[in-house]
């Protein structure tokens, strides 16, 4: 029962963060800000699910099941690349940003790529 509660908790946490991240994607005003929604909330979103799953399967009586952790591992390797590349693309395309965005850049305002 306790296990069930813990698993449920993790699943719900995961789902909640996935949802929040996706909400951010919908709700935030410019691309650069939207970029934060998924890349953050979904890390924990998936993470929550994974932990829930690990606990769930490890308590099914068929030994410990940790392989779901690999999903997180690979996601941690690959997800930042997507985010980084997307940001690069957005800078290159000079996507509009909300006006209040401050530029604390050392070089120029349009980003390092704008030559």
């Amino acid at each position: 029962m306790l296990v069930e509660i813990i698993v449920s908790l993790f699943l719900l946490i995961g789902a909640a963060f996935a949802l929040i991240g996706s909400w951010g994607l919908v709700h935030l005003p410019d691309f650069y800000m939207r970029l934060h929604g998924p890349t953050k909330a979904t890390t924990l979103g998936v993470g929550g699910m994974i932990v829930g799953s690990v606990i769930f399967f490890s308590t099914q009586g068929e030994g410990i099941s940790l392989h779901e952790l690999l999903i997180t591992l690979f996601l941690f390797i690959t997800a930042p690349v997507s985010a980084h590349m997307l940001a690069k693309a957005a800078l290159h395309l000079q996507l509009e940003r909300v006006e209040k965005t401050r530029d604390v850049a050392r070089k120029n305002t349009s980003g390092p790529c704008g030559k």
């Binding site: 029962m1 069930e4 509660i5 698993v7 449920s8 908790l9 699943l11 719900l12 995961g14 789902a15 909640a16 996935a18 949802l19 991240g21 996706s22 909400w23 994607l25 919908v26 691309f31 939207r34 970029l35 929604g37 998924p38 979904t42 979103g45 998936v46 699910m49 994974i50 829930g52 799953s53 769930f56 399967f57 099914q60 099941s65 392989h67 779901e68 690999l70 999903i71 997180t72 690979f74 996601l75 690959t78 997800a79 690349v81 997507s82 590349m85 997307l86 690069k88 693309a89 957005a90 290159h92 395309l93 996507l95």
Partner: protein, 89 residues
């Protein structure tokens, strides 16, 4: 308890995916759509893991793993295209 939580999680994931879909469709810019697609992939991982727990079956692990390993390749390809046109140079 668990099944109720799973139902709720399913509902939230569905809503999340709908949000993603909205952004894919709405754009306005290409990076937005790509980002939304990428998020869909990642949310799909979560959904598959959740489905595995729901079905109490480990057969779907590989699908989730595969997305984790390969899902970003599509994003990278499209973004590289936006940046350079030529993705393999």
């Amino acid at each position: 308890m668990l099944s109720l939580a799973i139902e709720a999680a399913f509902a939230m994931m569905s809503l999340a995916l709908l949000f993603n879909l909205w952004r894919v469709v709405r754009g306005p810019d290409l990076p937005d759509r790509i980002l939304a697609l990428d998020t869909m992939y990642i949310n799909t991982i979560a959904l598959i893991v959740l489905y595995g727990v729901h079905e109490q079956s480990g057969f779907y692990f590989e699908a989730a793993l595969l997305i984790a390993v390969m899902g970003f390749v599509g994003t990278v390809a499209v973004v590289k295209y936006l940046l350079r046109g030529d993705i393999v140079e």
